[in-house]
């Protein structure tokens, strides 16, 4: 029997998936089963940690949604009318926090809220003393929630704004001529088209807050705010090794994180159905609102951009003269040169590996497109790692590949493979729309004019692929640069990437050095995301990458 190349690709993609995702998860599941005692799963300490995880995630989500929804509606409304550079800038600003490494965000908030932080100093210089609630703010649940809110509001706003932009202005105009005021237009026209995007954003924020690691680790201050992520990490990397305890933490985290991911799947399928039913999938075009001319919308657009920028302000506070001085200090440069090289190497290997695997999955899924059952199964399984915490999957690596892998000896390969496993769905999501819109008629036209398959691909299809491929490489590289969890699991004294250096300096109270390196990491990762977002249709690549 002749093996068709399509099935061969599906087989290769499935093998990688088995190696990176299925086997580690199966090993983790077996380990869960071997614990034996049910009581271990209901250990009051771990249940308390699970409750704390839920509490911080719920608070962070509710506040992020309460602020992000109106902001997104506003920016979406302005953008669908004004549509110029200011609107594009707003979208870029909203997508930038995605590029802020969580370890940098944690450093920033400690430098703002900590005992010698900017806000404390401000109070002391204004009042002569610092109130107790400010002094106890850092290393508390409130600080973690605040950092999560600043991190996630732009994300909620970005998704809502994109959905708001797909509302055709002609429907709003028709509603107005039929007597509908702002409230009725919002209720009957805008909300039905925005609600599933909003629900999806809320669920994603909830899941990300449940799986938040570096922010909680640094800003939670250890016992005051311990979540399942930090508890899992503590059981395998601090003190006495307790793999069973870590597995129990992973079990509860999988349960808690599954809930929002089910909601995301529901919301996204509802949103897709709605788009299919109404044929409204993209930007709806420009149309000035009555009584408000374009100039007024531009002013509104500038205000929207300023508001979007507000959520980036904390991160800019680390760019001081002292930071630059510290960064260009010879000793600091010497200390970070190897970690920087290592981080760059990990980012390059991860981005290339993740994009190649993403591409492989896209082509395989394209081959399966006309077999709906296979196609759905393949897509769901390919997207599975998006719903997993890196630490949980890493624990699966740890348990599953224990024969070949000594985590305490450090492993560059494990860091890279774990990151590839987590980031290839990002590449898949960015590249899949290109596969869906393959210009088959143009390719046929090229063949009839004498072009070979290769020439036809190069001249007709590659121009459509190269932008998304570049976006995927950039976004994965940016995310990989600041990734903490995978490198925390498999580091050794020889293998310490940049995010770990920051984390260590923070724990050793070397705040100036930590801030300086955070500034460098922030510039690198947001720079990449910013460029990709600005040139990639106002953040749509970033939205696809994370949604």
């Amino acid at each position: 029997m002749k093996l068709r190349p399509g099935w061969l690709l599906v087989g290769i993609a499935a093998s990688f998936w088995f190696f990176l995702v299925a086997y580690p998860l199966a090993a983790l599941a077996l380990r869960m089963g071997s614990i034996g005692s049910v009581a271990a799963y209901f250990d009051p300490e771990i249940l308390g940690i699970a409750a704390m995880t839920l509490e911080q995630a719920v608070w962070s989500t509710v506040i992020s949604c309460l602020i992000g929804l109106p902001l997104g509606l506003w920016i979406g409304a302005v953008t669908s009318r004004e549509g110029g550079r200011v609107a594009r800038l707003s979208f870029t600003l909203l997508s930038l926090p995605y590029g802020v490494p969580t370890v940098v965000a944690a450093t920033v908030w400690v430098s703002l809220l900590g005992r010698s932080g900017v806000i404390q100093q401000l109070f002391i210089s204004l009042l002569g003393f610092s109130p107790e609630w400010i002094r106890s703010f850092a290393y508390s649940l409130k600080a973690v929630v605040l950092a999560h809110v600043f991190y996630n509001v732009p994300w909620v706003a970005l998704l809502v704004a994109q959905a708001r932009m797909s509302v055709p202005p002609v429907q709003l105009a028709a509603a107005e001529t039929l007597g509908a005021g702002l409230c009725s237009r919002t209720r009957f026209i805008i909300w039905p088209q925005v609600k599933w995007a909003f629900a999806s954003a809320a669920a994603q924020v909830m899941a990300l807050c449940v799986m938040s690691f570096a922010l909680v680790l640094i800003l939670g201050g250890g016992p005051p705010v311990q979540t399942l992520e930090t508890a899992l990490y503590a059981r395998i990397r601090y003190g006495a090794l307790d793999v069973s305890g870590a597995v129990v933490c992973a079990f509860w985290e999988l349960i808690i994180a599954m809930l929002p991911w089910l909601l995301i799947l529901l919301a996204q399928s509802r949103q897709a159905n709605y788009s299919l039913k109404t044929g409204q999938t993209g930007h709806a075009g420009l149309s000035p609102e009555p009584g408000r001319e374009l100039g007024q919308w531009r002013i509104s657009g500038v205000l929207g951009a300023i508001t979007a920028f507000f959520f980036l302000i904390p991160y800019f506070t680390i760019f001081g003269i002292d930071t630059l001085k510290t960064l260009f200090n010879f000793e600091v440069l010497l200390q970070i040169s190897r970690p920087l090289q290592l981080s760059m190497l990990i980012a390059v290997l991860t981005s290339l590996g993740a994009v190649l695997l993403g591409l492989l999955c896209v082509v395989a899924a394209g081959f399966l497109r006309f077999r709906p059952l296979f196609s759905t199964m393949f897509s769901v399984l390919a997207a599975l790692p998006s719903g997993l915490s890196i630490l949980v999957l890493g624990l699966g690596f740890w348990v599953g590949y224990a024969r070949w892998l000594d985590p305490f000896a450090g492993s560059l390969a494990a860091m890279v493979f774990l990151q590839i496993a987590v980031f290839y769905p990002v590449a898949f999501r960015i590249l899949w729309p290109v596969m869906e819109r393959r210009p088959l008629d143009l390719l046929d036209a090229a063949y009839t004019m004498g072009a070979s398959r290769l020439r036809a691909f190069w001249s007709v299809e590659w121009p459509l692929w190269r932008g998304p491929v570049a976006s995927a490489i950039g976004i994965v590289a940016g995310a990989s640069l600041g990734e903490v969890a995978a490198v925390s699991l498999f580091y050794s004294e020889r293998l310490v990437p940049l995010p770990l250096v920051i984390s260590r300096w923070m724990s050793q109270y070397q705040f100036a050095e930590a801030e300086a390196v955070s500034a460098l990491l922030l510039l690198l990762s947001t720079g990449i995301i910013g460029v990709v977002s600005y040139w990639g249709q106002g953040g749509s690549s970033v939205v696809r990458a994370r949604s």
């Binding site: 105009a173 028709a174 039929l178 007597g179 044929g279 009555p290």
Partner: protein, 232 residues
């Protein structure tokens, strides 16, 4: 019968557009004309010549730079679209996807308040209008399930049923085939007879003009000014 009675009660308003000017990108739109009660005027012109902008100004969706728009004795130039009483049918129909057919048709009643008419009554009236165009059975259907012609019929009814004082149509037939177009033109004329307010049809098709219009406006270009006047 009720339609006829309510028309007798309703103030019959002619449309008067006087020295209306609006700068639109690289030209200035200049309109000056009147439409009588029951008149169906057509405005024919090429794309991008300002026809749709004129409709949007008349509907209150855009403000003019100068000039006035009167409906009867009332100056509506700066009245909000909600308070103008102008019905508009868009090329894309602009049906609301979250509402079913009946909810779309009765949307104007719900938004404007029902002036003493209960929900049952205006829904019954909507069913009557739907029956007239053979669409009663679709009353509870989602608008996304309708064909182009059916969607356009719903758009006609939605714009007329709440009895506007002026009807505007922005190339409502352009995406439809010839046979369907002819049928819809006839249905539109029939529906307009039930509520004979001034009507302005913007189109680029002379056959639509012949089927619907009783008079026409001319659009002529003089330098960078696009003049809209009643045809002599």
């Amino acid at each position: 019968m009720r339609d006829h009675e309510s028309f007798q009660r309703f103030p019959k308003s002619s449309l008067k557009v006087a020295a209306l000017r609006k700068r639109i990108e690289d030209f200035t739109l200049d309109a000056d004309f009147e439409l009588a009660v029951g008149e169906r005027a057509a405005l024919v012109g090429r794309s991008g010549s300002g026809k749709t902008s004129l409709l949007r100004i008349l509907a209150g969706l855009e403000a003019p730079d100068s000039g006035t728009v009167h409906l009867g004795n009332e100056n509506i130039t700066f009245l909000s679209p909600q308070r103008r009483g102008v019905g508009i049918i868009f090329q894309e129909q602009a049906l609301f996807p979250a509402l079913n057919v009946l909810e779309n048709v009765t949307f104007g009643f719900r938004m404007r308040g029902t002036q003493g008419i209960g929900r049952d009554e205006y829904e019954a009236e909507a069913m009557l209008w739907l029956e007239r165009v053979g669409m009663k059975k679709f009353a509870r259907s989602a608008v996304g399930n309708l064909s182009g012609g059916e969607r356009q019929r719903i758009a006609f009814i939605r714009a007329l049923i709440w009895k506007p004082r002026l009807m505007l149509l922005d190339e409502p037939f352009s995406a439809l085939d010839r046979e369907l177009r002819t049928n819809l033109c006839n249905e539109l004329v029939e529906l307009h007879r039930l509520w004979p307010v001034p009507m302005l049809l913007v189109t680029h098709d002379e056959l639509d003009v012949a089927a619907v219009a009783t008079s026409r406006l001319h659009l002529c270009v003089a330098g960078d000014v696009h003049l809209i006047r009643r045809a002599s």
